[in-house]
Amino acid sequence: MFRSMFTAALGMQAQQSNMDNVANNLANVNTTGFKKGRIAFQDLLYTTLAMQNPQEEIIQASDTEGIPNGAQVGTGVKSIATERIFTVGSLQRTDNPLDLVINGDGFFEVTLPDKSKAYTRDGSLKMNKDGSLVSPTGHPVGVTIPKDVTNVSIKEDGSVMGIKAGSKSPDPVKIGQIKIVRFLNPMGLRPVGGNLYLESSVSGAKVKGTPGSNSLGNIASGYLEKSNVNVVEEMMNIIQAQRAYEMNGKVVTSTDEMTRMTIQLHKQ
């Protein structure tokens, strides 16, 4: 009797996790470089509805001879992972030449203080006091602007251009190159906060190169990538989660009603 109540309770918990995920997505709808999450669910073990009393001469519902099972019932649902979806977010124009967006696959590679590499989609670059281009978290991208260079611009293929002071020609020259990295399985990257991701054993083969080559995306300068959260989609998810929560709740009340009816069989 109470198995359906527990199953429904697990269903309600699952929808609650669903809502938590939607809430997080919507809270980050304006976060630069945020990638929306989704939850993966799986059903639990199936149990055979064996008869109440094993002493009776009743053939058990479970079978070992390949005959279709008589009566099997599931025991609910569990969430096994929260995954990040790496699709391109919406673009916001800023006109700041150092605000970069990767239009397509790829991440900016930054160097952490311990010399290891981290990856980010957040291209809101700044120049620190040494002239080095750094990510919003302060980690260097690998390109340094010399002190006497002005009018820094960045082209689609990641070439960093500038005009050297004292140069006769008004045309910018190339002073550096931004390379980006893409992964076979970006969902396998490990998020460490600050929009940074670390490579993991399951993120797959890594391809580093010039933007635009080898399926790597192009760089658009003067734009920022907002989150890839689709507000309409999340609203639908809210409605669906709420209704599914309600339906599971109805199973609980209905089972409760059936239990009440059973108890009332013995009316004094």
């Binding site: 009797m1 198995r3 359906s4 109540m5 199953t7 429904a8 269903g11 699952a14 929808q15 939850i39 669910f41 799986q42 059903d43 639990l44 199936y46 509805l49 008869m51 109440q52 009393n53 009776e56 009743i58 053939i59 519902a61 390949g66 005959i67 279709p68 099972n69 008589g70 009566a71 099997q72 019932v73 599931g74 025991t75 609910g76 096994i80 992972a81 979806i85 790496f86 699709t87 893409r182 076979l184 399985n185 969902m187 396998g188 054993s201 399951v202 993120s203 797959g204 083969a205 399926s215 209704r243 599914a244 339906m247 199973v251 209905s254 059936m258 009816m261 059973t262 009332q264 069989l265």
Partner: protein
Amino acid sequence: MITYYNIGRLRCGGVQMPFFKGMEHAVQGMIAMRAKQEVIANNLANANTVGFQKDGLVVGSFAELLQGEMGYSREWMHQAGFVPAGGTKNGDPGVFYKTYTHFAQGTLKDTGHPFDLAIEGDGFFSIQTPYGIRYTRNGSFGLNGAGFLVTKDGSLVMGNKGAIKIKGSDFNIKESGAVFVDGSEIDKLRMVRFPDLRFLKKTGDNYYMADASGEPVPNSKVRQGFLEGANINAVREMVEMLAAMRSFEANQKLLQAEDQMLQKSVNETGRVR
């Protein structure tokens, strides 16, 4: 003493009481409806589970199934997959039920993730788990540390040539299930279908186990970047649940009525002054 597990046959001191037959049938009906409620609860709890195929429960009474002439045998009922509700014994008319999985295409959802696969049509993916070969419609795959294509719980996805190792930076699956890495075909996903779906048994974690061997799938397509949703129809489930509850209630009322009748016969008619 009348104990619960004897209630199918209501014995008093070892002697079966014939006038309890009406109650027996009602109790069995209640047990079957309770089982139906559990099946519906599981369907609704799994509304968001990828590739979930809903279950159903059918109730049959012995008389209908038998159709008169055939000699009733336990084996025949067993062969058809029915189980007796409550304490129905060999030779008794009674309520039988069975659960089944209703296989139908779920809605495909576009996710854009290259490791999300969905089957459009018949068939299952073949997965090598620590417990043996299992089948699933859940195409939410990933990579393991050694570069093999795996399910989310780490089991290997099978291609026709074995486990699929992805050594490269581009991964594409064509609609035929052919696996292309960096532009060259390395394998084809091992998709299987079963002509008699009753031989599939759910084992949890979105897996199915089969006693029969499967055959290749002629017509289905594999869609990369899509996931299949659960095939439950919420309205249908709610209606079935209502029906189960009302049937349960009807049986309960029947039991109460029988109880009252018995009470009258025992306490009033048969009163000994």
